[in-house]
């Protein structure tokens, strides 16, 4: 419960980003952006190879955008959820496709 309160309480100001947000943004952003572009490649479509080109071209831009989005969450818990929830969705789609 203490941990929950620590994560869910908004910081008093935005002048300090904090280690937790930085780590969640960088690594969470990487995992989420990479896996979500993998969805593009994983399902069978006539454009599979073309999608692979697009996914490779734009995964770094997506990483940059997603990391920024995660770091800007209102609370630390929000940042964690912005990483965990979409990643869970993406992973389940991938698992379903890959079966």
């Amino acid at each position: 419960m203490n941990l929950y309160r620590y994560l869910a309480t908004p910081e008093p100001n935005g002048k300090k980003i904090g280690f937790f947000r930085i780590i969640t943004a960088i690594f969470g952003g990487l995992v989420l952006s990479y896996l979500s572009l993998c969805v593009l490649v994983a399902f069978d479509s006539p454009f599979k190879n073309d999608f692979a080109v697009i996914a490779l071209l734009y995964n770094t831009l997506m990483w940059a955008a997603v990391a920024l989005w995660i770091a800007l969450a209102p609370t630390k818990l929000g940042a964690l959820l912005r990483f965990v929830l979409p990643t869970l969705i993406v992973v389940s789609i991938l698992g379903w496709l890959y079966e």
Binding site: K48, L56, L57
Partner: protein, 529 residues
């Protein structure tokens, strides 16, 4: 109340992220942009740096190709089938080269047909500047140290590019939500205004170039899981997935046993040009030469479709029979899959393949503006730090000294590189290593000098003056060693370096030195309240 507070926190955090990330990556980004500006002119520098390339330009339709081809075909050690002839004029090159996938290229003077003594690894000024641009900074050797550190450099520059994209996105949001309209009254406000104004204009180009840079340094390394996913676990190389789209395989043609007389290559080029007048031919491939089913494949760049072809992936081509010149197959600029155009468009501004000097200069000017804007961003941060001391004590900050050495110190260090190009004898053993080593030492010396000089503006003045003198000196040394080459790309590089030198000397003269003069330099008296 809570809503307002959340929005305030969000804005604070956005600005803080922009600034913090900016201070982490700005110096690496500046290095990349600074040397990238030289890399934009790489084709011209490549010719300028080599004495063997100081030859006149020729029209590709007037060259006697057979004279050079015979020299290669008579060499028993050179492969014969699928020879590639790179036409003079391609990427600024003045020589004609004949190469093969499995053999080192041979260079010829297209006018006289004589073999050129290529300097090879003795002079690689342009390629070294290009390596500095993408982080392959420490590849002194092929041993573990060199390989490991150039890999580290590429990763570092790749991660930097991702950081820069985050900064660009956050910067664009900041420009949208805050108004930056006040008339600047302090140097700090002026730096902020310049930083914002410049990037408001150039950020799309800047973002596209950074994106393609990040792709080259990171994406291909991280592609293994994606390749596995796309191929149901069969492939671990992404080339197997994207290769068929980006680089379609050509079918090998078995040579006929009968021989035939070939048409002259210049006639075939002229014929191909009439079939598709829009293509600027760059490379010619000779398939089964001297056999009855011999073919010639001509690849090039369609100048009327920029952003869509000419880079790495999409090169329109024509294949003709070498016996009678009849058209066998044709691939036009727009015949490829849609993702190829995405790739070409993303890379176009970065590679500028087949682009003429005017467009290159425009992109270079945009990048100069970006480099200045990065510099103003760092100066803005430093002004804010200096404000904490409220002018009670003189400001001396390690970041000021460090960024002075990286940003301004790079100019005289590069000047040393250019001067050494003509100062070192061309037969010196390990010439390139001396050149690189002295360059790095000069750059390091600027770091010591920056810390030694208390007054940052004075050190900057000295660096600019030294840099200007060195660039002008390198041009004079070039004329002294090799003579004057009227009306050519070589003279263009000379003039370009002269103008750069003069601008640097002028900047050094204009820059204020005394602390009192600094504020009035940035903000004119009457504008101050």
């Amino acid at each position: 109340m809570n809503e307002i507070n959340a929005s305030k926190l969000w804005k604070q955090r956005l600005l803080r992220l922009h600034v913090a990330l900016g201070m982490v990556v700005s110096l690496v980004m500046y290095i990349s942009v600074f040397f990238g500006i030289f890399a934009i002119f790489l084709p011209y520098l490549q010719v300028w740096e080599k004495p063997s390339r100081h030859i006149e330009r020729t029209d590709v339709a007037q060259i006697d190709y057979e004279k050079m081809l015979h020299q290669v075909l008579e060499d028993p050690n050179f492969p014969k089938n699928n020879l590639l002839i790179t036409l003079p004029g391609t990427k600024g090159e003045t020589a004609l080269s004949i190469s093969h996938r499995f053999s080192a290229p041979r260079f010829f003077n297209p006018i006289s047909g004589e073999t050129l003594q290529d300097e090879g690894a003795q002079t690689q000024l342009a390629s070294f500047l290009n390596k500095l641009h993408y982080g392959k900074v420490l590849d002194f050797d092929k041993e573990l140290f060199g390989v490991a550190f150039s890999f580290f450099g590429r990763l570092l520059f790749g991660f930097m590019a991702v950081g820069v994209m985050s900064i660009v996105i956050s910067g664009v949001i900041l420009i949208i939500i805050f108004s930056y309209k006040n008339k600047p009254k302090t140097p700090q406000a002026l730096f902020s205004r310049l930083h914002v104004k410049i990037f408001t204009w150039v950020f799309p180009i800047f973002l596209l170039i950074t994106l393609s840079g990040a792709f080259m340094n990171l994406s291909l390394l991280s592609s293994v899981p994606m390749a596995k996913l796309a191929s149901d676990g069969k492939e671990s190389r992404i080339d197997a997935i994207i290769g068929p789209v980006l680089f379609p395989k050509e079918e090998a043609l078995i040579a006929s046993s009968e021989t035939a007389v070939m048409l002259p290559i210049k006639t075939l080029i002229a014929k191909a040009q009439t079939l598709n007048p829009q293509i600027n031919f760059q490379q010619v491939k000779l398939i089964n030469w001297n056999a009855k089913n011999a073919q010639i494949e001509l690849k090039g760049y369609d100048v009327y479709k920029p952003f869509l072809n000419g880079g790495v992936f999409n090169k329109p081509s024509l294949t003709l029979s070498a016996v009678d010149g009849s058209l066998i197959s044709e691939q036009k600029a727009l015949d490829r899959s849609w993702s190829v155009f995405f790739a070409e468009a993303t890379f176009f501004l970065h590679f500028l393949a087949g682009v003429d000097i005017i467009s290159r200069t425009l992109v270079a000017l945009v990048m100069v503006a970006s480099a200045l804007a990065i510099g103003f961003g760092v100066m803005l941060w430093l002004e804010k730090q200096a404000k904490k001391f409220d002018e009670r004590i003189p400001f001396y900050h390690w970041m000021a000294k460090f960024s002075l050495s990286i940003m301004v110190g790079a100019i005289p260090a590069t000047g040393v590189l250019f001067v050494l190009q003509w100062l070192l004898p061309f037969d010196l053993a390990d010439r390139l290593l001396w050149q690189k080593g002295l360059f790095y030492n000069a750059w390091l010396a600027t770091l010591f000098w920056a810390f030694y000089r208390f007054n940052t503006y004075q050190a900057a003045k000295e660096f600019l003056a030294l840099g200007g003198a060195l660039f002008i000196g390198s041009v004079l040394l070039h004329w002294f060693t090799l003579g004057f080459f009227p009306l050519s790309a070589i003279l263009g590089v000379d003039l370009w370096l002269l103008v750069l030198g003069i601008v640097l000397l002028w900047g050094s003269r204009k820059l204020p030195c005394q602390p009192e003069a600094v504020a009035s330099f940035w903000i004119k008296k009457e504008e101050r309240a």
